[in-house]
């Protein structure tokens, strides 16, 4: 059957099959919708940035496959998500809504992550089990290990997912957290979204190894490389790792090879460090398109249905933007609140 999108087709992975992983059609459709939502949230955010309404945007485009694929294997209400700023799609899987994301983008009072205090994309929600993170790179890694320790101690059946970029692996905090997790065989999965750059710094200046996953064995647990553009393969790798963690066999380090389609953030200009050709070439492996192709191939979604869906999700996203935009700003007087407990926390 000739492919509709040219050379993309030839690159579609066939390594993973959703049936073998226990994913039904509904799962596939939900996965797809989540990826699409992330993509459209990104596009809306950059539009808002150009309009001067969103001072700062951290894009996800290109990472939707590895984010949704890995996050999908955790269970809401039971497992814990420790994402980093790139993880729009991870938090969508965890249950954050586009409205909530835009409340953060606009620094509104009801931003669930921080009430407009943190920069956008600094996710957090106690209700959803999304652990708040800061801007400093890799500090969340020991937190994730501590949470996993507590979960094990309390004999909960919970697994912790901890996401970061390949640049984060250079920080001492990363090493220390990985090491602790290995020693105590904690129920945790580390997911490295390796997009080959840390802002402008290419991987070869970040580490002398080809794969971040090669570092797993240094901590006494497996490292696995997976194609980050293949959402099903990512799910498969995570599934295995989560099962392993739940069975008490300890951590796994998953490295998803991916690419970021936009600059690092809306403040960045990536032309100084990446050729346009490189970026365009990477787009041939767009995880969203590859997955749409897969869905067509397995007969779950028609091309026309994809187009309709895009219109539908875009409308949802636009509505979320409007709703968030009209929400109230934080009170300036709230500046001094919550430095310490006010005694009325839940």
């Amino acid at each position: 059957m000739p492919s509709e999108d040219g050379d993309v087709a030839t690159r579609v992975t066939t390594a993973a099959s959703h049936e073998a992983l226990g994913l039904g059609e509904d799962d596939l459709l939900s996965i797809h919708r989540t990826m699409l939502t992330a993509r459209l949230v990104d596009e809306a955010s950059f539009r808002l940035n150009r309009q001067g309404k969103a001072p700062f945007v951290v894009p996800v485009s290109g990472h939707e496959g590895c984010q949704v694929g890995t996050a999908w294997a955790l269970r809401r209400g039971q497992d814990i998500w420790v994402p980093y700023y790139r993880d729009v799609a991870v938090v969508l899987v965890a249950g954050m809504t586009p409205v909530e994301i835009f409340l953060g983008l606009f620094a509104k009072a009801d931003d669930p992550s921080s009430g407009g205090r943190q920069m956008p994309s600094h996710w957090g929600s106690r209700r959803l089990g999304i652990i708040s993170h800061s801007s400093p790179i890799a500090t969340q890694v020991p937190h994730a290990a501590g949470i996993a320790y507590a979960a094990k101690y309390r004999k909960e059946d919970a697994v912790v997912g901890c996401w970061f970029g390949e640049g984060a692996t250079s920080e001492g905090a990363w090493h220390e957290g990985m090491n602790f997790a290995g020693i105590h065989k904690l129920p945790i999965v580390f997911i490295c979204e390796n997009n080959q750059y840390a802002i402008s710094v290419a991987q070869a200046k970040q580490m002398a190894v080809e794969n971040v996953a090669d570092r797993g064995p240094a901590y006494g647990f497996p490292g696995v490389v997976v194609d980050g553009s293949d959402v099903i393969a990512c799910y498969g790798a995570m599934r295995t790792a989560v099962d392993r963690a739940r069975a008490g066999e300890g951590p796994t380090l998953i490295e998803a090879k991916t690419y970021r389609f936009f600059p690092h953030t809306s403040d960045d200009d990536d032309r100084s460090y990446r050729t346009r050709e490189e970026v365009e070439a990477a787009k041939h492996r767009d995880p969203l398109h590859l997955f749409e192709h897969y869905l067509r191939k397995v007969g779950v979604l028609e091309k026309s249905a994809v187009d309709e869906l895009a219109v539908e999700v875009k409308a949802e996203v636009d509505k979320a933007v409007d709703q968030a935009w009209s929400a109230p700003d934080p009170e300036p007087s709230s500046l001094t609140r919550h430095v310490f407990s006010e005694g009325d926390e839940a």
């Binding site: 669930p112 290990a145 507590a150 609140r337 407990s341």
Partner: protein
């Protein structure tokens, strides 16, 4: 009432809390098998097991970061930093994570955790086993920093720290560990965080101090009364952050004379804030200059006995300054 030294007071209180609440876990270097280099957690491993008494790798940032994770997930971790000098690899966790979790989430997350660290000099510890660190950590909004200096305060404040819904850096002057003894009630009591304490009453001058220097000041004050009849009021700061300016100012307003004594390097030390606060709030009540005595601005005391002595303010020196200020 039982007479104890500081280290025993801490041991007993930690033991009491661990026995009472399964959520309390402790972690740090050499705290399990060896019971801590100062023996604060001696016997805990056998009693509470290795899940609750965790010998960690040498990685202070991780110790604090893992404690953050534990506190986020239902536990009440009490981390030990082997020497306060070695907490600095955890500075980023302390500044960026520990102290900001509640603020940055607008109150959604909280961190009930304690980090204990033996600090201070006078034990032949040289440059890296003698540091005072309260000025660095006192300047971090969102972090409580306490410096109890007696067995009573150590007991009551450790209870308060473990009960606190917010993170507390609990500093223990290691020279006081076995040097300072005192009565501790057998019934549970709490010493609230954020309250200074008048350790000796007097109306001729106010001496504000904490840590080992508190005891040096008390000694000088006692001699001063005996020898000169001068009555110094000695205020124990006890909590570095939040600072109890009220108790300090009340004393200064009463005596009209203020002296601040601390062991840490003088410049930009915690005593600067105390002196500045007195100047701003009570300058017109003063009958003499504000006197501030701190350690010299050198990296730390040397190992050679005479270099250590040259660094540490002693009772004689403080006595002289007190007398001079009283007579001003």
């Amino acid at each position: 009432m039982t007479e104890k030294n500081v280290v025993t007071a801490i041991h007993d209180t930690l033991h009491e809390r661990m026995a009472a609440d399964e959520r309390v876990v402790i972690l740090g270097e050499d705290i399990a098998t060896r019971g801590g280099v100062f023996r604060v957690t001696q016997g805990f491993l056998d009693e509470f097991g290795e899940e609750r008494v965790i010998d960690t790798p040498i990685a202070e940032g991780m110790i604090v970061g893992v404690a953050v994770g534990m506190a986020l997930h239902g536990l009440l971790p009490v981390a030990e930093i082997e020497f306060a000098d070695f907490i600095h690899p955890a500075f980023d966790q302390m500044v960026s994570e520990v102290s900001r979790m509640r603020y940055r989430t607008n109150g959604d997350f909280g961190l009930p955790m304690v980090v204990r660290a033996p600090y201070g000099g006078g034990v032949h510890g040289a440059l890296y086993h003698s540091q005072s660190i309260e000025a660095f950590y006192g300047h971090i909004p969102g972090l409580k920093v306490v410096v109890p200096s007696t067995p009573y305060d150590a007991t009551g404040m450790l209870r308060a720290a473990i009960d606190d819904p917010d993170p507390v850096l609990f500093l223990e002057h290691k020279r006081t560990y076995r040097l300072i003894k005192g009565d501790v009630p057998d019934e549970p009591f709490v010493v609230p965080i954020g309250k200074a304490d008048v350790k000796r009453e007097g109306d001729d001058l106010s001496v504000i101090s904490y840590g080992l220097m508190l005891h040096v000041c008390l000694e000088a004050a006692s001699r001063l009364q005996d020898q000169e009849g001068v009555k110094a009021e000695v205020v124990d700061v006890r909590t570095i952050n939040p600072l109890d300016t009220e108790t300090i100012l009340t004393s200064v307003r009463k005596t009209g004379k203020a002296m601040v004594v601390y062991e840490d390097n003088r410049t930009y030390g915690a005593g600067a804030e105390i002196a500045a606060t007195i100047a701003e709030e009570a300058m017109f009540d003063l009958d003499g200059p504000i006197v501030r005595i701190g350690g010299p601005d050198v990296p730390a005391m040397g190992f050679a006995t005479n270099l250590e002595h040259a660094f540490l303010p002693d009772a004689d020196r403080i006595y002289t300054h007190m007398l001079e200020l009283a007579r001003f």
